[in-house]
Symmetry: C2
Subunit: 458 residues, 2 copies
């Protein structure tokens, strides 16, 4: 029996303990975007540092101007050096009333077909995913007393809230973070039987805008029509952001966006992706966005703009005939290829300002920027990871595009000069960022086994 076989057998035997550890970190409400949870977010960082120390990592909680980072190194001399990145913070759980139970009390749900899933905020994104890697390390240590290769683990606490302090940390800890390749577990499988390595990600440019009109809320009977209504101004801005063909109208927005190559489109075509099934899973049937482009093309190779939140005036029960003093929206752009988030932010702000009446004003708050990123899959780390994943799942791992943004990927590539292998075990129905987030027990179990294989193969 090889060391790897022993490690895999240990993982199978230790699964209940691994779940127990995952549940411990899930119960810590590390909601980074809400200042009310700052102490609990730190407590979660401390939990992870202690957990990594317990398996021989030199781990510590590092302060930043925001939430802390966990940095852990397993000292070892030989082999390909891996820098693993995960994030221990989670999204807010609201609307709480749409959860079937307490969002932060994980439960194991068993379905009629015998499949099981863990339901909780962070079950997948990213606590369940990051713990697959940590548990793989734990198993190697338990069986061999060591790891097959040198490993550094970096756990961020602000991934869900803009990640403003990570660039500074990467800069200041550059020497400690040196490695040959980075790995991230924060992405999905292609489907529940087919593992996937994500080789491109969209960038992000997120803004909150506040449109201010009168200096107080007004009675719409006395002031209706006469006074500027910021709800109308904001709605006009949002409506103007797309033309009738679904294209974003911010000047220069499509600069640096080539048409996807025929080879890429052909590769995606072979994946057997069903738009009807993808949309049907969430109760929809009509592809939105740009006319004449497929869903995969739109989410993997086209930029987009989404209003993630908007509010203005009276939104409680009943009716209040008010013209509000202010209305606001949270707007995010997903970027591809060479789009420059700073240029787009400036163009967007100018676009908004042009639509603000002379006696009103607009304020902007910046929430994170990141360029899109693409990797060449011919590098050994990608090939070896693909083989390890294919061995575990019995199906060839797919190289896929990603619609989301993991700004750290770009930062690691740019600041630390490494390729980033993004392999994750999430599924498209995991409801991350939504009520009843879940992580399949198979994702967790075979995810741990997958990383055990990758550590041996790299």
């Amino acid at each position: 029996m090889s060391d790897l076989d022993k490690v895999l057998a240990h993982i199978d035997a230790d699964l209940d303990h691994a779940l127990d550890r995952l549940f411990q970190t899930i119960r810590l409400k590390s909601i980074s975007t809400d200042p009310a949870y700052a102490a609990e977010t730190r407590a979660c960082a401390e939990w992870h540092a202690a957990d990594l120390q317990s398996i021989g990592f030199d781990a510590s909680v590092r302060d930043t101007p925001g939430h802390p980072v966990v940095l852990a190194k397993h000292h070892q001399t030989a082999g390909t050096r891996i820098l693993f990145y995960g994030h221990y913070d989670v999204q807010p759980a609201d609307p709480l009333e749409l959860w079937d139970g307490d969002a932060f009390e994980p439960v194991m749900i068993t379905h009629d077909d015998g499949t099981k899933e863990i339901r909780a905020r962070g079950a997948a994104d990213d606590k369940g995913q990051l713990m697959t890697f940590v548990e793989a390390c734990r198993a190697w240590k338990a069986i061999t007393g060591s790891l097959p290769v040198p490993v550094t683990i970096l756990l961020e606490g602000e991934e869900e809230s803009g990640g403003a302090n990570l660039p500074g940390f990467l800069e200041s800890a550059k020497a400690e973070l040196q490695a040959d390749v980075a790995m991230i577990c924060d992405t999905n499988m292609w489907d529940k039987e087919t593992p996937a390595i994500t080789t491109s990600l969209r960038g992000l440019c997120a803004e909150e805008i506040f449109v201010h009109a009168s200096d107080r809320d007004l009675h719409s009977g006395f002031y209706g029509s006469a006074a500027a209504n910021p709800n109308h101004i904001l709605a006009r801005v949002i409506a103007d952001l797309r033309d009738a063909e679904g294209r974003i109208t911010v000047p220069g927005f499509y600069d640096g966006v080539p048409e996807p190559s025929q080879a890429l489109l052909d590769g995606w075509g072979k994946l057997g992706f069903s738009e009807a099934a993808f949309l049907g899973e969430v109760g929809l049937s009509v592809p939105a966005g740009e006319r004449g482009r497929s869903v995969l093309e739109q989410t993997w190779s086209r930029p987009t703009c989404e209003v993630n939140g908007m509010t203005g005036g009276y939104t409680g029960d009943g009716f209040k005939t008010v013209i509000p003093a202010v209305a606001s929206a949270k707007i995010s752009f997903r970027l591809v290829f060479d789009q420059d988030p700073h240029k787009i932010r400036a163009a967007f702000r100018a676009f908004v300002r042009e639509r603000i009446p002379a006696d009103c004003r607009v304020e902007f708050t910046e929430f994170g920027s990141g360029r899109a990123v693409t990797f060449e899959v011919t590098a050994p780390a990608f090939q070896n990871t693909q083989k390890a994943l294919s061995d575990e799942w019995g199906k060839e791992a797919a190289f896929v595009g990603g619609g989301g943004s993991i700004p750290v990927t770009t930062m690691i590539k740019e600041k630390l000069g490494m390729d980033v292998v993004m392999a994750g075990f999430g599924l498209s129905d995991d409801r991350i960022h939504s009520p009843n987030e879940k992580y399949s027990l198979t994702s967790f179990h075979k995810g741990i086994r997958s990383w055990a294989r990758v550590l041996a193969a790299i």
Copy 2:
């Protein structure tokens, strides 16, 4: 010394007691739109019934399917019978953090120039205003043991929340409500020196719309562009409601809206109204709404459409890259002349439905309808009231238009067949429906004296 002079002297001497009574009703949080305050709303009705009993009215709290009505009759045989209407419910006080103190703990503020004002929710709208009439009755009773004319007082508890149950009550209590003329104290002075009688009001048609897209909140990275975003759909609907000239685009919206007569425009022109001052008072300077129409024309004789509230997606602190399942807006139309609120509601719903993608849906909730109303000022009740107000204030009372909607005015005219004299002592800077609502002590004091004169003159 005439009875009237004695009554006026009594009012001056009793002012502190009158304020004390006003403060008692203000402290009762009769927020009719919020079900959490149902018990306190009823307690407020009971307070008013007891207060009116204490000055010899046969007063009782009458149940409706919603908040109760207070009905009080002072039995008397001779003279012009008056039906006085007021409302004891108030608007919500949020955003609470913008108040300089507790919204429901009235305080008397003294300014540097010696003027005083009462600050509280309901200080003006409508508790302060309705108590001017009640205190005038109290003074007449104290001096003469009776009232100059028969008076019936009707206090509604749902004026700020759609008033759904008032039509039914008026119908069922029709016999008890019979009178020669109705009077309402829920409007403003022309300016702080010039009393006014409002002779027209805009109608209202209020709707809440809910745009539903996916069956759950989605991650905008995975679903951006591919999935319909209800924030975008709602913004498009709102933006489409007005054309580039500021006209409402709902088909048939302007049916029954004549141009105002030159005589009316000339009369308004003589009021010396300053658009710059009116807008400047609330921090604005550019008239919104229809191009080429004056502010008075817009607020007194033109219909409008205002989005009083809108919300969709994540609106808390920080950022959440979500595509929400639902977005909603509260939209009200102010109507003039012969616009039919039911026809406009139907046309608006069709307008919205046309803009909803095939895989999304929209729900509507109706909040109140009322036609606009106009009175002929040559009737004796208007002339006598004008004279009484002019005597009290030393300036001729103006006949003005009103931009707001007091649906009960239309109902009283249509169901009970009476003219309605709307005389009130509010000022345009009273911040009704806003934080730091206030009522000038002069409005309260001279308002009581004004009604005492009206009761004698009518």
